[in-house]
Structure formats: structure tokens, C-alpha cells
């Protein structure tokens, strides 16, 4: 574990790691462009503001869910409750946000605090995150089913109209993805606090010796993950206009896929927010590509995995070269 963390260097003076990083983020980006090129060659009409709007609309919540997953992976943990939590947020949003916004806000706060609390529990008792978050996923799903026994409720009008708002220059989904990537880049990859955060995942002892409270960092990172998952649930409710406990279980593993695809590693401390956002966009476009190619439905499930595999294999090959 520490071996890999040491091997992935972060000093900007070294050109090769910079190239390595660029390639790691670059490959999913290239895959994204290739997929877009194929889609546009099949249907040129898609190459428009409206086309981009439709293609990337549903990727917004996945981007946030993937960033939430990235925060947890940064610590060397993994979060299996992410998708169920997003489902719960859609239920809370569809039930309360329109008529009782204060109650909804209180729910969000409590839920984010619970997320942070579970982070604390994982740290203080040295529990395996995979087990704790697996348990949490059932808790979130259970609460969601109690709140909303069958899909329903409705999103407040302002949220739905915000998600269908068409801002100038680029569709909202691209704006949000770009902003999220930029914010993540500035906080995680560029700021000095970001170095501490990544250090807490890669080498917690060193960070602790340097005088930082690893417990504090953990709680903060889990709370941030909860907040990002909350944003994913809010944007998802805005898009679907309703709540559904089972709406997003796929986000858990798609989020992990996006993080790894975008240059992250399970060892902790090695993540890239820009790569994660691009990875999320790539994954959400992979399904679209298959429907444009008219792949037979029985092949579609497997074919999506093949795309993921090819991109990942390409990344591994390139990064071996770069070393």
C-alpha cells in the first residue's frame, strides 16, 4: 500500500509523473472524444447545443456521486452506500423540499452528519469501510422505503426548472461538470490542504506526525462525501422530478469505476477530481453509444463492460510505458 503511494510522486519538478498524470486523465478523455465522434457520425444532428444537452443531461448526478466516492477512495476506503444514499436523498427531496424546505434541509444535515459519524466510527474502531458502508447501504434503503414505500412525490418546480435551464454557451450539464472538476482540482490537487487530505489516505502516520488530526480530516472528508452525494440526489430529483428509493444503486459502482478510470487508485491518496469527472462522463456516455450503434439488447449489458475494460486496459498500458 505505502509502496504504491510512494511510487506515485507528486513533485511538479519531475516531468515524467506529470506526463503520467496527464495520460491517466487523458485516456478517458480520448475515449470520451472517440465515443462522441462515433455518435456524431451516426447522427450529425446530435452535434448541437440541444444534442449535448440530451446526451449529458443524466450525467450530472453521476458526476457528483463519483466525486463523493472519490473523497472516500482518497482515504483508502470504499463507499458501498453511495447509491442507496442518493436514492434516500431523492425520497427526502421529493417528499419535503417543496412544502417544507426547512424540514428537508434539516434532514440533509442529519444525513450528512450521519455520514460523517460513520466515517468517525470506521476510523475510531478501525473497522473495514467496505463492511460498514455495506451495512449503511441497507440502512439508507430501509429509511428510504419507509419514507416513500413506492416511487412518487414531486420535485419542487424551481429545482426541476433549474435542471432543465439552458444557460448560454454550453448546456447546464457541461457547465456543472466543468465547475465541479475545477473546484475539485483547486481543492484536492492544488491547495496545500489538499496535499494533507491526500496524505491522510496515502500515509496517515506521516500526516499525524506533522501535527494534523487524522480523525478531524476523516470526519471532514466523509462529511464532504455526504454533501456531494446529497448534491447528486438533489440534481437527480430535479431531472426525474420524483423520488425513488431504488433509483441509483448503480451509482455506487459506477462512481468507483469513474474514480479508477480517471486515475485514482484503491491504495488511498491517489485521486484526480478532473479525471473522475471525465471518467463519470465517459461511463454515462458508454451506454448511449451502444444505443446509437443499435447493439442487440442481449449484448448491451456485456458490451458496456467491454468499453470500460478497454479504456482501463489502455490506461494501465500507457501508465506502464510512462514509468
Amino acid at each position: 500500500m505505502s509502496d504504491a503511494a510512494v511510487r506515485a510522486p507528486r513533485s511538479p519538478s519531475n516531468a515524467r509523473p506529470a506526463l503520467l498524470n496527464a495520460l491517466q486523465v487523458g485516456l478517458p478523455a480520448i475515449a470520451l472524444l472517440v465515443m462522441l465522434a462515433i455518435i456524431f457520425s451516426i447522427r450529425p444532428a446530435a452535434m448541437s447545443y440541444f444534442g449535448f444537452h440530451l446526451l449529458f443531461k443524466l450525467s450530472v448526478p453521476l458526476v457528483f456521486a463519483a466525486l463523493a466516492q472519490m473523497m472516500v477512495i482518497m482515504l483508502g476506503d470504499i463507499d458501498l452506500s453511495n447509491g442507496a444514499f442518493v436514492g434516500l436523498i431523492t425520497c427526502v427531496t421529493a417528499l419535503y423540499l417543496r412544502d417544507a424546505p426547512a424540514l428537508a434541509a434539516l434532514c440533509y444535515l442529519v444525513l450528512i452528519a450521519a455520514y460523517a459519524g460513520f466515517g468517525l466510527l470506521i476510523h475510531s474502531r478501525q473497522l473495514p469501510s467496505i463492511i460498514v458502508t455495506l451495512g449503511m447501504s441497507f440502512i439508507w434503503l430501509g429509511i428510504a422505503v419507509i419514507l416513500l414505500p413506492a416511487p412518487g412525490g414531486s420535485a419542487p418546480a424551481w429545482l426541476a426548472s433549474f435542471m432543465s435551464w439552458q444557460p448560454p454557451l454550453m448546456p447546464l450539464s457541461i457547465w456543472l461538470a466543468a465547475l465541479a472538476a475545477l473546484a475539485g482540482h483547486l481543492v484536492i490537487s492544488r491547495s496545500s490542504y489538499g496535499v494533507v487530505l491526500r496524505g491522510a489516505g496515502g500515509n496517515p502516520r506521516a500526516v499525524e506526525r506533522a501535527g494534523w488530526s487524522v480523525i478531524g480530516i476523516r470526519v471532514a472528508v466523509y462529511a464532504a462525501a455526504g454533501l456531494l452525494a446529497c448534491l447528486a440526489g438533489l440534481t437527480l430529483t430535479g431531472l426525474t422530478t420524483s423520488g425513488d428509493a431504488n433509483v441509483a444503486p448503480a451509482y455506487t459502482l459506477l462512481g468507483v469505476g469513474a474514480v479508477i478510470l480517471g486515475g485514482g487508485a484503491f491504495t488511498g491518496g491517489v485521486v484526480s477530481p478532473v479525471g473522475t469527472v471525465i471518467g463519470a462522463l465517459t461511463l454515462s456516455l458508454a451506454g448511449s453509444l451502444l444505443s446509437f450503434l443499435q447493439v442487440p439488447p442481449t449484448w448491451q449489458i456485456g458490451a458496456q463492460g467491454v468499453i470500460l475494460f478497454l479504456v482501463l486496459a489502455g490506461r494501465v498500458l500507457l501508465s506502464e510505458r510512462a514509468r
Binding site: 440530451l54 450525467s59 413506492a150 416511487p151 422530478t241 441509483a248 448503480a250 442487440p296 449489458i301
Partner: protein
């Protein structure tokens, strides 16, 4: 002379009147198959999940009917996309279908509500959306579905025809927690149970419409249950439930079957061995054909109500052998829904008449 003239005038007025009604409503609702030209139209099928026998047959039914309709110049093209049980992905696939310029999209939704945004986008783009076998709540979509109250009522009616009014313990196998179909069918069960006061619900498990899951869940709850007299199911779970009872060395209760081949084979085997009797009903996978023709008929100008009820396929003891012969190993009982039959189903819905049933094979 004058009498003939009055009669003639009355006839003329009547003829004129009927002409105007025809003209104002386009095609009348009760006039069978609408003949509008749809040869240039494209119909897509957005499916939430392709990973079990039921869905495989459903997709095949759609593709076969679609290929035939294309050959007959009734539509220009069809397509199927599946989303691996992820509703968010299905929503984005619907957005893609809008981009690809389809005239109608039929949807088997992974969620009753989560596709509302995407379906609304499709309607706004002038696309006809027909959701089937799910309670999609977006009002612009046409819904083709079963009546789940009558599903539950048929199950309990059969049980009471066998057990009468004696006190009986009932185990209910449900689908999936938080799912709309499961909730509506369960509500139907609750309503139907009220009509049978002597029956007692002793347990409830989620079998996820899959034999293996149902077997595991029933095995888990059985030790805590008293004698079970009947098992209510949602389709796909009867075989697993029976295996659980056998493994526990319990007497086989009346398990309502769900038209799967394994269920019917087990029923026949038990019937031959001990005279075991039960009843099977369920959705037919080819309901995708009903949705297809409903979409085609809307494009052809037929007035279709927003909700079209589809008859359930029921199998009773006398028809068991005939049906069993038609089902492939591991498959689901299926029936063809040609265009005329679908037009009849639509008309029966409009006139609130009994639905045309699916006849047993000869």
C-alpha cells in the same frame, strides 16, 4: 310520398351527423384497426432489464413482431435498447432515442417515476410514449398495463374455491421493496384479503420475482411459520417456493404459479403424483407487442384512452398440459398479440366491456 320524403330526410340527416362525428374525432374509438399510414414511422423500445427469461422472450416477441411489421410496410424501423436495471441509464437512453428521431417510444420502466423527466422531454419533442407493465405517472404517457387488483383477487378466489371459508394461513411472496408493481399488487392482495376474513397472513418475504431468491427467502422464514395453507406469488417465484417447502419436508401448500415453465412442470409432476391442484396466472412477455401496436395505432390516428388494460393469462388444471407443451424449457408462457386483437383490446377498454381473453392452445 310524404312519408318516404320524411324518412329520406331523416336518413340524410343521420348520415350527415355520423359523417360529422367521424370527421371531428378523426377515427372513431370503436372502429377496429385504424388504417392511417405509418409506413415512415420508427418505433423504439426502451427496456429496463434484459437479464431473465421473461425479458428475453419479451424482447424477442417485440423484435419478431417489429420485423414483420417492417416487412409488411406498417412501420419503417424498430429498435430495442436495454439498460441493465439502472433507471438513470434508462432515462439517458430515452434522451438518446429522442435525439435519434423516433416517432414513438414504448417503455418498460425500471421505475414508476424516475423516468418522468425523460418521458416529458420525449412528449415535448412530439414523440408518442407508451409505457407498459408499469405504473408510469407522467400524464403525457399512454399506459398499457394489467389490473393488479384483479390479479390479487384471482389468486385469492382460487384459494377460496379450494379451501372454502375454513381458517387458513397465507404466506405472501412479494417482489422487491420500494417497487411500484410490488406495491400495487400488494395493495390488491390487502383488498382481496378483506373479502376472506378467515384467512390469516402469516408471513411476507421479498422473492424478487426469481426462483432462487424466492427459495432462499422462503427457506429462511419457514421455520418460524405454522402450517402454511396457501402461497400468494407475483410470478417467477412459485418454483423456488415449492423447493423451499420440499427441502423443509413440509406438505406442499397451494402455491399460485406464475406461468413459468419450471412452475408448470412442477405442478404437472405433483398433479400426476398426488393429484395436486393449483392455478397459474401472470403477465405475458408479449405484452411488448400490445404496447407496440398501441403505439402504432396512435400514430395511425386511432383514439386510444390514456390507460389500456391488458388481460392476464390464466391457466387452469384442464389446460395445463396444452400450455406446458407450448413453453420452451426455462421459458415463460407466451401468446401472440396481432394488430387486430390489440385493436379489440383498445375498443373493449373504451366501451368498458370485458377484455378479450387469451385462448388456450389446442
Amino acid at each position: 310520398m310524404s312519408r318516404t320524403r320524411t324518412a329520406g330526410r331523416a336518413f340524410l340527416i343521420a348520415a350527415l351527423l355520423s359523417c360529422t362525428t367521424l370527421a371531428t374525432t378523426g377515427a372513431r374509438a370503436d372502429d377496429g384497426v385504424a388504417k392511417g399510414d405509418t409506413s415512415a414511422k420508427k418505433i423504439a423500445f426502451s427496456n429496463s432489464y434484459a437479464g431473465n427469461s421473461f425479458r428475453q422472450v419479451m424482447i424477442k416477441s417485440f423484435e419478431e413482431m417489429g420485423a414483420k411489421a417492417v416487412a409488411d410496410k406498417q412501420v419503417a424501423a424498430t429498435a430495442v435498447v436495454s439498460s441493465n436495471n439502472s433507471v438513470t441509464e434508462q432515462a439517458s437512453q430515452i434522451e438518446n432515442l429522442i435525439l435519434q428521431g423516433y416517432d414513438a417510444i414504448i417503455v418498460l420502466a425500471g421505475s414508476d417515476t424516475a423516468l418522468n423527466g425523460a418521458i416529458k422531454d420525449a412528449c415535448n419533442a412530439g414523440i408518442t410514449v407508451v409505457a407498459f407493465a408499469s405504473g408510469v405517472t407522467e400524464p403525457c404517457a399512454y399506459v398499457v398495463d394489467y389490473n393488479l387488483d384483479s390479479y390479487a383477487k384471482a389468486e385469492l378466489d382460487f384459494i377460496s374455491s379450494k379451501l372454502g371459508d375454513k381458517p387458513a394461513n397465507i404466506l405472501e411472496i412479494r417482489g422487491m421493496a420500494g417497487d411500484g408493481f410490488d406495491k400495487r399488487l400488494h395493495e390488491g392482495v390487502e383488498k382481496a384479503m378483506k373479502a376472506h376474513a378467515s384467512y390469516k397472513a402469516v408471513g411476507e418475504v421479498y422473492g424478487q420475482w426469481t426462483a432462487t431468491v424466492a427459495q432462499k427467502e422462503v427457506s429462511g422464514i419457514l421455520p418460524s411459520l405454522p402450517q402454511v395453507d396457501a402461497v400468494l406469488t407475483q410470478g417467477g417465484d412459485g418454483y423456488g417456493a415449492a423447493q423451499a417447502f420440499k427441502a423443509a419436508n413440509r406438505q406442499l401448500p397451494i402455491i399460485i404459479m406464475g406461468n413459468r415453465q419450471d412452475e408448470l412442470a412442477l405442478w404437472k409432476q405433483e398433479h400426476d403424483a398426488s393429484g395436486y391442484q393449483t392455478f397459474s396466472l401472470g403477465a405475458t412477455p408479449s405484452v411488448s407487442q400490445v404496447a407496440f401496436w398501441v403505439a402504432q395505432q396512435i400514430l395511425a390516428g386511432k383514439q386510444v384512452p390514456k390507460f389500456v388494460e391488458v388481460p392476464l393469462l390464466q391457466i387452469n388444471q384442464p389446460d395445463l398440459d396444452a400450455w406446458l407443451k407450448t413453453v420452451p424449457e426455462g421459458g415463460v408462457v407466451n401468446a401472440e398479440y396481432p394488430q387486430e386483437l390489440v385493436a379489440k383490446i383498445i375498443d373493449a377498454n373504451v366501451k368498458k366491456e370485458p377484455l378479450p381473453g387469451v385462448p388456450a392452445p389446442k
